[in-house]
């Protein structure tokens, strides 16, 4: 059994009376690419929020490399190596594209001076945004804003990268580039958890798949086996019991 780099144990999250996560346990092995699928409202983004420290779980713990980081805030978890992209991009609109990424390299990545600038430039390069570097972030369209989310997360030099639906809206060719990038990042030793609705792209990149529905994990394991699972099929048809 490989070491788990990121682990969530019986995570629950309630918003008032709404139970969005119901005792979710999830373990991500170092160096693997884990896919996460599930119908809308399943709680996937909420799970990322809890793992990245943006949301406090109502119950449960988050472990990074075996250390309990449940009490650590989002900034600290980022510096410890957990980076995430936001499903709905959240660029710093009053800053340039380069400055968005530079801040990530300087704070999350812990880089200073020239190294920070180079780290930012490389993250922009990898995300395909280098030509927009000096444009205001506010001038980017939705797709480029998603690329900026990716560039910012990469600039923090994460050990675990949480990707939330960054493939939506891309052309087939662009999806190929994205799948290639994700594989390259794995080669570099990064661990990736990827929430994606575009299955054919996801299946080309991942080692393992988790399916969530109604706040719980309903299936996990070998990707094709999970997709063929009967509970998963029913969840996607909208009728999980």
């Amino acid at each position: 059994m490989p070491v788990a780099i990121l682990e969530g144990t019986s995570l629950s999250k309630r918003f008032g009376a709404l139970r969005v996560l119901r005792s979710v346990s999830l373990s991500v092995a170092a160096g693997e690419i884990l896919g996460v699928v599930g119908p809308n409202g399943a709680g996937k983004t909420t799970l990322f929020g809890v793992l990245a420290g943006a949301l406090r779980p109502t119950e449960g713990r988050v472990l990074l490399n075996g250390d309990d980081v449940t009490a650590a805030n989002a900034a600290r978890r980022c510096r410890l190596g957990i980076a995430r992209t936001h499903q709905v991009p959240r660029p710093f609109l009053g800053m340039s594209v380069f400055e968005n990424v530079l801040a990530a390299a300087a704070f999350g990545g812990g880089l200073a001076g020239q190294a920070a600038q180079e780290g930012a430039a490389e993250a922009l390069h990898r995300s395909g945004l280098v030509d927009c570097a000096n444009r205001p972030a506010a001038s980017l369209g939705l797709l480029d804003r998603k690329r900026l989310e990716l560039a910012r997360a990469l600039a923090t030099r994460p050990r675990v990268l949480l990707l939330d639906e960054i493939g939506g809206g891309l052309t087939e060719a662009e999806l190929d580039v994205l799948v290639g990038l994700v594989r390259d990042l794995k080669q570099d030793g990064m661990t990736i958890v990827w929430i994606e609705h575009i299955l054919h792209a996801l299946l080309r990149a991942i080692d393992r798949l988790v399916c969530m529905a109604e706040g719980g994990v309903i299936a996990e394991g070998e990707p094709r086996a999970v997709m063929a699972d009967e509970t998963v099929m029913r969840a996607y048809l909208g009728g999980v019991a």
Partner: protein
Amino acid sequence: MNENARPIFTVAPRRASPAGWIAIVAVAMLAVVPLLCGGPVVDKLTTLCVYVLLAVMWNLLAGYAGLVSVGQQAFFGLGGYFALRLVEAGLPPYPALVAGAFASAGIAVPISLFLLRLRNGEFAIAMWVTAEAFRLLVMFDPLVQGETGTSLLALNAYEPDLRRNLTYWVALASMAAMTAGSYWLLCRRIGWAARAIRDDEDAAASIGIETMRVKRVIFIVAALGCALAGCIWLASAITFQPRTNFGVQWTVFMLFMVLVGGLRSFEGPIIGALLFFAVQEIFGDFGAWYLAGLGAVAVAFALYLPEGIWGALRSRTGIELMPTQVKHP
């Protein structure tokens, strides 16, 4: 991606900006004004320094860190009050004025622990309530005599011309130091962090920025600047009245200067302060209606020219005297 395919990035060396040199020369020239000009000019320049200081501080707070406070008069008033108390305790007036400002900034530390948890409108209102609470508390001090207020009579020990010049030099030094200090902060990592927090606080945390710590530093620096302004005001007015020194008009002035001059640029608020100074010279102070008018102009700018005069000029001409952005090489 192929290791060799990665481009090599070089960073352009930072050049000292000509505007920086111009600013240094301007401050040096301003410093010798008392040797050349009469008292009224010196008094007016003292007032101008206070305006610039206030405008730069509010822009640092609201324009760069997104902390829209309508209660900075809390620190303005407290600075003067602490100075009075320190003089009462036996300190000479000028050291007491500077120490009073630092004491007021010290009060910003515990306040920041509570108020910086609030966001946007809640923070703004809480700051205003805080300023009012301090005004009421200070009125309980027998030294202040409630609404009546008091005077910094110890300053009368100085010969009037010397007093006027000393106050001016303190004002000029405070204005120059706080302005240069904020510019220095804004060009550094903490400046990027502040702007990121202003644009999206949660996203800023998600890239590793300790948002509370950054906001606290900016908040305390801005409190110090406002407190210095309050102490200088006390030194030139001599009288201390809770209703004036803790008055909400200071916030209206700051809003006017920053919104008209140009929020989020370094130059804008300074231009706004010059403009406000001119407006004060022409129209004088007409009380409540005058304040309402200033507020209305500020709101009109916020709605129809949100980047202010400087922002509009910048986008039309592309000039930038004191850039705080970092360019991709």
